[in-house]
Symmetry: C2
Subunit: 520 residues, 2 copies
């Protein structure tokens, strides 16, 4: 048994708690087992995964009997969870070759790790070259979708219960709207908050599946059977974006595309606000500053892109498979609203291949990559609340330039924002942008040495943001119908790192990389 001291990080305790999480997660592969049985596919990849998870989970649990989680051990727990689980999540991809479909569906450990990390971080970038039931079993694709749903649940707990306690990147601000549980110990708090979020998350997932499947039943969708309805519900709510269809949501009718939009918007909203709404306090939702900015920004960007598409200025070439867009108001509005919601909420679905958009429209969309959904959701990227705070801090700086003696706190709603929180928000954005710039350059330089790739600057930026912001697709060679498989192995490992660090709000990972963390 490890002895807890004030002087060293009790990494055995952190690992032991990761073990507990892994042990419970061993139940998850049973869902693809059921799918495999239904479709007559091999259950081996998932039974094997479940068995390994039990073994690893129970094994790690033995490392410590301590249960009093300290501040620093919590950081380690967070970072290690999103490393150990995605690694275990590679097993189905690596074993699936023994299934009914035949060949290994993903070649090599690096690709499997990329796909698994992309799943559990709800990123949605893929290294699969062709996505269909001819090359992949129903069960394997369901595991891929399930990994996003599980990752999303984990992120919600992280965002609403854990990170605010750890003061990461101004995450305290997200806490202001969290259910008002103020118990000192971290663990009971997590359990209670998790239970509330779990209900809302499951509820919306079920509702989404019913609506999607309902459209098929009433004749408004051709191919939205039970499998597809469940698959897309599982990847909408975590803002994940994986689809069992190679052409993403383009494969479905306009009615389905319209129906997915509000569910993406819900998925990118602060879940604590739904908690209040269900409690009768709907004004907490409708009067929330971040929620209003979130809707307003999406509406604004949608209007600009819809206008560009409708007039034809935003269209570079006619897209195959879909109706012509210029001059078609419904189509222009739908593509714009869908794509903007998909990017702002960081879901990453595509209702069409936006590689056919004109660079002007693509550039406007690239803006949206930096917005991010709301705090307290599974959305990635920078997040609206941080931009709201930056805008208010800017206004205050201008005001105090004119009135040097004025001492005004920045306010969100009626609440004065703590100056330390504000500082952490600025630091977060600066680190995020620095990482974006450095990653763009590194991935661009790497692509120069790959014969079949010819990335432009815009495309390189989109690759960095697609992974760091947990969005999924980018432009050009990594567009929504393309694959990240072409990148070099080191580049893919680097993107695995970006998805990981981006998902954990950057600072919770950076903290454990500082020498000071491990000292005194």
């Amino acid at each position: 048994m490890a002895v807890v001291t004030d002087r060293y990080v009790d990494y055995r305790l952190s690992l032991s708690l990761v073990g507990t999480v892994v042990k419970y997660l061993a139940a998850a592969p049973l869902f693809p087992v059921l799918v495999a049985i239904y479709y007559g596919e091999s259950v081996l990849p998932f039974v094997a995964t479940s068995a390994v998870m039990v073994a690893v989970g129970v094994g790690l649990e033995q490392l410590s009997e301590e249960s009093d989680l300290g501040h620093r051990e919590a950081f380690l727990l967070v970072s290690l969870s999103w490393l150990v689980i995605p690694i275990l999540g590679t097993i189905p991809y690596l074993v699936a070759g023994n299934g009914s479909v035949g060949a290994h569906t993903i070649d090599g450990v690096v690709n499997a790790l990329f796909e698994s990390m992309s799943g559990f971080t709800t990123t949605g970038s893929t290294v699969m070259q062709s996505i269909s039931f001819e090359t992949h079993s129903h069960a394997l694709l369901m595991w891929r979708q399930l990994s996003q749903w599980l990752g999303g649940m984990g992120i919600l707990v992280l965002m609403v219960a854990i990170l605010p306690e750890l003061s990461v990147g101004g995450a305290q601000i997200m806490n202001e709207e969290a259910p008002g549980i103020s118990i000192e110990k971290l663990t009971p708090r997590i359990q209670e908050t998790a239970r509330a979020l779990w209900k809302i998350y499951v509820g919306f997932t079920v509702l989404a599946a019913l609506v999607y499947f309902g459209l098929d039943v009433v004749g408004l969708a051709d191919n939205m059977g039970v499998y597809n309805a469940v698959a897309h519900a599982l990847t909408t709510m975590p803002t994940g974006g994986f689809s069992p269809e190679g052409r993403s949501v383009e494969a479905f009718s306009p009615a389905v595309q319209w129906a997915i939009i509000p569910f993406m918007v819900v998925a990118g909203t602060n879940f604590a606000l739904f908690w209040y709404a269900l409690d009768g306090r709907i004004d907490r939702l409708t009067e929330n500053a971040e929620f209003r900015s979130y809707l307003g920004l999406m509406a604004g960007v949608t209007a600009v892109i819809a206008a560009l598409l409708f007039t034809g200025l935003g269209v570079a070439s006619a897209a195959p498979n879909i109706a012509p867009i210029p001059g078609n108001l419904e189509n222009s509005l739908r593509q714009a609203a869908f794509q903007v919601a998909a990017i702002v909420t960081t879901t990453g679905y595509a209702s069409m291949d936006f590689n056919h958009w004109h660079p002007v429209a693509q550039t406007v969309l690239l803006f949206a990559f930096f917005l991010g959904g709301s705090a307290g959701s599974a959305a990635g990227s920078i997040k609206i609340v941080r931009w709201v705070l930056v805008r208010k801090a800017m206004a205050r700086s201008l005001f105090t330039s004119i009135h040097p003696d004025a001492v005004e706190p920045v306010r969100v709603g009626d609440e004065a924002v703590d100056e330390g929180t504000l500082r952490d928000v600025f630091v977060f954005i600066m680190i995020f942008l620095s990482l974006f710039v450095v990653s763009t350059v590194l991935l661009y330089v790497d692509s120069l040495f790959i014969e079949r790739m010819d990335l432009t600057g815009l495309e390189a930026m989109s690759v960095a943001m697609a992974t760091l912001g947990n969005i999924g697709p980018g432009f050009g060679e990594v567009g929504p119908m393309n694959s990240f498989e072409l990148f070099s192995a080191p580049a893919k490992l680097y993107m695995v790192f970006l998805m990981w660090i981006g998902r954990l709000e950057i600072l919770s990972v950076l903290v454990i990389l500082t020498p000071a963390y491990w000292r005194s």
Copy 2:
């Protein structure tokens, strides 16, 4: 006479003080008059400019007899000075067609305003299509160079004496190293500080001219006559970058290029540190945190680019006019050191056309666009001291994540940095980067409608930074040997705005654009 009240901005007072500055500046065109007489060129453009300046200056002075400059009037004074003077500075370009050379050298008011603003803001971007004494008189080109030298002197006074008092964008931090004059009133402070800076600035300008001309005398330069030596001294010290040679500093020998590098480095250093050094306190220079980062960053980026050039990885095509670079250590080092110093100090000279560099080397150089020289110099862009503070604030955020109860101020040297200053630095960088992004998109979109232009994303970014950061040249179609003339008139006016707002540290302009500034 205007009545000073607490309720309204006394814009008449600000205009009257602008008038005083313009009145004294009326002496400046006498220098190109002397040049014109020596070369037998027309003196009319400069006599006319001087006459108009006297008239406008004396006229504006009548608007107010008040002399007690308030906080808000100072903001207006700063913004208006860099608007009124560049407008008056267009006169020589517009009148020069009547001179010895024949045709109007710059076509139209927009182009003249661009060139004049580029001069007085020490930017160095040009709309001239061919720069030579065959198309422009010696006197007109000397006016162009002189405008940078005058603008640089103005900026030094602004940076060291005025902006710190106005708390703009964290400019207080620049004040910590400023000569220790602590008089309440702004005016005497400006006068005394200005006098100290003036001596250093003039001293270095004379020294640069002597060294440049000396290289010609001892046979190390072919074409560095008195005119060229003075011309380049006048545009080195203000980090300006205008050259009477169409191919910039490529036109001179390696010895001249090596000699210009240290003068650019000096021009980008905090002038207050020289004030101490001359006073015997050389440690204030050598131990200054910003100065050390400034040298370190330049050395680091130089090493990377020199390695890329020497190995050939950084070279896309052989450059005409100069010796081959790959495998030539002296040439690789010289081109790298010169170009990095030119960009980091925001001087913008070119020792070669870096359009022949590989995109990898260009991308590294684009990084340097965002560094900027030191506070308390005439350099533009973001400036090293701000990055030093951001890096330290990031480190502190990581530290307090681990030790939540630690209250640690950010320190530069022995001094704790005020939290308000730190906040202003973050706000400044966020506004700067937002303006950079928006401008990149606007200028890129504009270029799509110009038939002869085909900007890439990298080039569009470089255009925005070249003007907003007061650097001068960009990549591709706005490379160091090219011209900004191709852009549309609205784009050029927008760039005039960028040079203006970038030069004045953004916030001093934004402040006067807020409604709150004009109220109560």
